[in-house]
Amino acid sequence: MKAQEPAAHLPHGTFWRFLLISAVIAVATAAVAMAVAWVIGRNIVHGIQEEGSLTVLRSAVDLVGRTRVADEQTRTFYMEQRRESLRSTNDYTVSVLSTYVRQVRETGRNETEARATAMARLSEVTKSLPHQTFILDGQGSLVAHPDQERLGQSLLDFRDNEGQLVFQRLMDEARRARPGQSVFGLYPAINPNTLVLELKLVAARHFDPWNLTVCADMFMGDLEQDLIPRRLANLAELRARVQEIMVSKSGYILIMDENGAFISHPVLTGHSAGQLKDPASGRSMEDLFHEAAERPFGENRFRYRWERPDDRGDFSHEKIAWCVREPTTGWYVAATAYVEDVEAELPRLALSIFLPALGAILVLAGALALLFKNLLKPVRDLISVCLAVSRGELEVMAPEDVPGEMGFLSRHFNFMIRRLRGLRRKEERRRLDLEALNRELEKVVDVRTRALKRKAQNLEDVNRRLKELDRMKSAFLSSVSHELRTPLTSVLGFAKLISRDFANNFLPLAQDQDKLTQRGRRILDNLEIIRSEGERLTRLINDVLDLNKIESGRVDWHDAETDLALVVERAVAAVRGQFAENPALKLAVDVEPGLPLLRLDFDRMVQVFLNLLHNAAKFTSAGRVGVRVFRKDGFLRAEVSDTGVGVPAADRERIFDKFHQVRLGDTLREKPQGTGLGLAICRQIVERHGGRIWVESEEGQGSTFVLEIPLKAAPLEAAPVPEIIAEPVPRAEKALVLVADDEAAVNSYLTQLLEAQDLEVVQAFDGESAVKKAGAYQPDLVVMDIMMPGMDGRTAIALLRRDPRTANIPVMVVSALPDLAGMGGDAALQKPVDETAFIEAVNCLLNRGGSGKPVLALRRNGETVPGPFFALCPAESIVHCDESELWQRIDAGFEGTVLLPDWAVDRLDMRRLSSAKGIHLLILPERAQAEHPAEDKKT
């Protein structure tokens, strides 16, 4: 509903807005049209008025010109009249003379007499003529003149005021003139009436028969006098005519002469315009007229304020005047009109322009409104359709019978609706399909989910079972190892005992009997086989246990900043003896100097390299084994290469599996050596350090084991140097040893061994009795088995330690259990017990130093073998040395006990160590709270 509201109002809004805007535009346009009409009308009115006024002005000018022409013509006429009268006077004179001439010719009258008579008569007659008449003879002498006194006077020398010989010239001209024609001249003379020097007009006619010049003259001054009334009449006529002219209703023509006097004005005729001022500009009217008249025609207008003839005294009426000079008179003629008259018709004219425009605007606006309404109707229809469509009602259609763009829009809108319908149908079908599919899917999912649940359940069960199995396997392995070790200890121990006894006691008996000796040797050989096989079995079990420990994460890693070069050096040093055995085998070591320190478990890494080097030596009968360490791409890379048999492609990955060994050609002849766990352990160690290990090999050509460890810069940690306190404790000569072992065989074996050392032995077969006996006998040493019925060894040790009587009695743990640390013993020996090691340990614990052999203790980074163990040993006999020194001493033929801390076991080449002659190894537990007698290996 909310969305519909603006849409529903839109068409109406648009229409009314349009109407409003149209109205505003129409009003504005009308106003503009009115203004334009007014301006145009004003221009038209003024243009027409100007055109009319100029035409009137020209006519008036013409009228003035004609008046002047009339004046001049009057003057000419008067002049001509005078001339005519002089001419006729002359003609009369000539006719009189002609009469006499005719008389002379026809009647034979005496010419001289006739001439004299004629002159006399003419002189007489002229007195009555209107003009003075006189006759000059050929010499210019007056022969006839009204004034008798002047007869005979010559006029030839008469000069006018300019010095011209007037009569001489006149006579010449008259003589040259056509027959019968008079010529005219002027000369100044004093008018007897006015006594003023005036010009006289003289007409001369030549009378040929007697060579006379007949003249008549008259004063000119009369002429202007005579002309004045004529001119006044002309002027009055002009004024009357001019004042008839109306310029735009009440305007008029006015004429002003050059001096500014009004020649013609409705009310001011005769006044001077110079004294009149335009009230608007304050300028003299005369100046205004002069200025306008001198402007180019058409621009000769000016405006001023004036009174109206019908409204005298009110000088507020604006007038417009066009002024020009009449050329012949130089008068200023002006056509003046009142602006109010000029513009009287302006409203009507403007309306006549504006009203049609207004009509057109209104009609146009109406038509536009209708048109827009019509235009909007389809839009409204379309909007309702749009609304319906937007509501989702696709059944509606826009009307298509609309012309033009709207029709086009409607048709295409409908087309869109049809498309939408099609889409909606398709959508519907798809939706239905999808729903069906969904249902199917739900079913399937349900089924699958259930199956999955079942499988997950199964997997969980299996996993649980597997874990259980793993645990069981570990337990099994532990127990089996333990169970295997215990009998193995017995087997090995007794085999050695038998072998020794046999060799010591029985063989000498048969010294003379070769057969017996032979048989004895064979028995010794067989016993040796039992022993060596037993040792191999022990190693196998150790390896299995080791791997098991790593896999199950029960190993304590001792990571420290380690130089891999040292690792390699240690490993190489350990195997050098092995390589020394085979002169055909060369060992080459190439370590890049300045390798960074890595955080590694030193011993484990040595184990890795040892393993690899052992393998290389094992599978390479002759050739070369190389160790190379270098940096590459952010990794520290170590390669151990050999020129041995190589690894088949199929085995290259599998050799890192547990219990996998490369099958060599002849399996019967060359049985696999080792446990087959070495590389697996290697891989575990390397991967634990974030590295990887692989083999590159070509069968028959050799193989290269590559390991890469990422370079991680780590700060060096200063390892604390623990203080070594060795407290030598005096030891009593007589010693009593309590042997606690539930197994009678082992108990008896150990007892035999101890008794062979001239020690007193008390036996106990369980923990409880062991504790009791220890309290009772106060032995010097307790040899304790751990796994015993009833009270186990651990509890027993704890009880012993708790009892102040027994608390200080050293306890040596002898057990088949893999981890003897933490059992509370002072030393530990793992079953099967190495006889020598056992005796050594016992001696050590008893502080007997029986063998008097020197003791070497390995130290690392200044860390000496810790613990109270040293209290058991004669202090002076212990030599602390580092690894290299240790090897030097051993190589130099050292014989005695070597104390090794727990960490050194994996690190040192134990094989080499154990292969050294006359060396007893005693491995000390990590924390020397309890001394564990170390394994003893005797070769």
Binding site: R58, G65, R68, V69, E72, Q73, R75, T76, M79, E162, R178, F184, G185, L186, L199, L201, I228, R231, L232, L235, A236, D257, E258, N259, A261, I263, T269, G270, A293, E294, R295, P296, F297, G298, V324, R325, P327, T328, T329, G330, W331
Partner: protein, 425 residues
Amino acid sequence: MHRRRAVLAAILALCTLLAGSFPARAASDVLLGMNYPLTGPYSVEGLDQIRSARLAVDQINATGGILGRRVVLVPRDSGSDVLQTRLNVRELLDMGCRMIFGGASSDVALEASRLCRLAGVPFFATLAYSSPLTEEFGHRFVFRECNDAWMTARVLGPWLNEHFPNKRFFYITADYTWGWSTEGALRRNTGTEDVHTHPGLLTPLGSTDFVRELELARDAQPDVLVLVLFGKDMAYALEKAVEMGFPRFCQIVVPNLTLGMAERAGAANMQGVVGTTSWNWKVPALLGQRRGQAFVDEFMHRYRRYPSSPGASAYTIVYEFKAAAEAAGSLEAMDIIRALEGRTFHLLKDDQTWRALDHQDVQTVFLVRGNPPEKVLSDPLRLDYFEILDSRPGSQTVLSEEAWKAARIKAGQPPYLEPAEGARP
């Protein structure tokens, strides 16, 4: 009351009339005297002169006058009469006019020239074709703005020689100095000096009846009828000649044509008539001369007519006087004369030069022929009378220095214009 008013009006009118005759003027005003025929046989030329002169004076006053002094035009009607001219010019000179011009008759011009010489005031002949004006009667104070008879003949002659070689001519000539010199020059330039083969008749100025002369001419059956007539005389004669059918068998030639004459004669009569004119209202447009066109336009606006050649002459004279005065920086006669002598100017047509030798305005003269009536009437002002056939620059037509000197000597005058002795300062 009415009587009193009438009397008052009469007195006032008289006063104004007198005032009109002798307008009170400021002493600094430059008076230009104009003696022109408002009436009489040449009145048609006179009206244009006064109109153009008035226009020029108005324009000059509107732009500051001459040397900063207002110009006042003092016109007098001569009626082409020598006596009236004498009266007028004397009056004008007495009023202190700095220059006299105007006139349409050579007789009048000669009389004015004579009087001006005496008074030491420059006279500009406006419409006086007669050669003696600048030859035997020439002097330092007279200038002729229009072409002289010789120039007319030098333009008309070649055309006649080309179109009517060895044809018979008949001359009807106004019997005064202009007529005589024009006929003489024309005869010399067309080789028709023989008066028996090419007869001629003289008629007095102001004649209105040419029947006798025309009958004689018709009897002579000439190929070319030369009417050395001017003004109304020419109009009467031409009217009669056309009436008598001359155009059917001969070419009518009127040596000096003006618009006013043609208008008075009428378009029908003027058709085909050949003559010369020093100027025509179409000339500025033809030459692309804007100054001249401005004059034509302003004249047209003011008087609803085209200016004619006498009008152009009067206009040119007023402006040349102004130019000379301003060039000389003086209104003194001799300064103005010296400034004008040899001066070349450019006003209403192409270049014109006041030849120092004889004060003749050396200028282009146009050969024109009367348009047919329909052409004349198709003009907005119905005044397109002439078709310009040809034009000749003044240097080709003007009387040569040698000929002029010869004429001077023959007339008993020195072969130069006398120094301005007797000139009034």
